[in-house]
């Protein structure tokens, strides 16, 4: 009788418990959104593993530029670049198209994903920092 009672009253608790685990797991992994944005907007050129493409497209993985960059990198992601830039001692001269449709929240997510993925360990940036940097884009 007792076991039956536990089964009868216990299953909603179990369901809620599992739901809570999934809920917190998703929140504990904030890079989920960043990764999705990266795959959609960046991976075509910079590749899924951030390796770039030879001397044509600069890498993001292990890139000194990414490690050193702060919130101002949001300007680069949003506006693109048509100038030469040096990454890990190699000069790149291609054109990077801008991602003007990304909003501040998305830029924070994708920027932190880049700064924390593929062995990168750059300091993460916050929403206020990115918002401020975007108002001062060159």
């Amino acid at each position: 009788m007792k076991i039956r009672n536990i089964l009868y009253y216990g299953w909603p608790v179990l369901v809620v418990g599992i739901a809570l685990i999934f809920y917190f797991q998703d929140n504990a992994n904030p890079s989920g959104a960043g990764q999705r944005l990266y795959t959609t907007h960046c991976a075509n050129c910079h590749m899924d593993n951030g390796q770039g493409l030879r001397r044509l497209i600069p890498p993001l993985a292990g890139a000194d530029y990414v490690h050193a960059a702060g919130a101002e990198m949001a300007c680069l992601i949003r506006n693109g670049i048509a100038d030469t830039m040096v990454v890990n001692g190699v000069t790149y001269s291609g054109v990077m198209p801008g991602n003007t449709y990304l909003d501040e929240v998305e830029l924070v997510a994708v920027l932190n994903y880049i700064k924390q993925s593929w062995g990168n360990s750059g300091e993460t940036v916050t929403y206020p920092e990115v918002k401020k940097a975007l108002s001062q884009c060159p």
């Binding site: 075509n44 050129c45 497209i57 291609g94």
Partner: protein, 220 residues
Amino acid sequence: MRQPTRNSFFFLLMISWGIIACNSQEVVEKPLPILGEKTITPEGDTLLYQIPPFAFVDQDSNMISEKDVAGKFYVADFFFTTCPSICPKMSAEMVRLHDEFLKEDQLLLLSYSLDPKYDTVAVLKDYATKLGVNTEKWHLLTGDEQELYDLAYAYMVNAVKDETAPGGVLHSGAFVLVDQNRHVRGFYDGTIPEEVDRLMVDIRRLIKEEGTIKEESTQG
């Protein structure tokens, strides 16, 4: 004592059956198909589909035509250097083919530009240099725009100018495997590494099965 012996006998039987089955499967494997529409001449002969003759300039200003691929196998794709969508992934996979078959003289790579107005010889040269391309192996081609789009159609590759598409051209990321007689032998998605792995297997197979033999017959 009897039971284990009988078991091990069946075990051995199954293993040997497995080996025989695997081997025979390899023998039975069909050759790669010859794709495209066949035409029948008034005389009743069946003509297999063949990539039409072409002539374009590569990154070294060399004219590359069907004569340069005669007797060789090649992989063709359509791209353009400023394409922001699928092209970098296609180029990354072409680089992988380039490195993998660098010493295989029977295989060439041809990348036709779909934006020849921008992709001049100088632009293609710069692109090829940045990718570290061996110019004997991988030809990046440019020329008359209409001829390039017509050729894409002949390769059965979709390519349409579209203002709304990224970069202004809507095109497929297909890699087309062509044999020594300019017959199309396979299509592969050039943006997916697993598909290009399959292409590599097919290239090796084609060269092994038809390469040297056919080359001798064309020489003779």
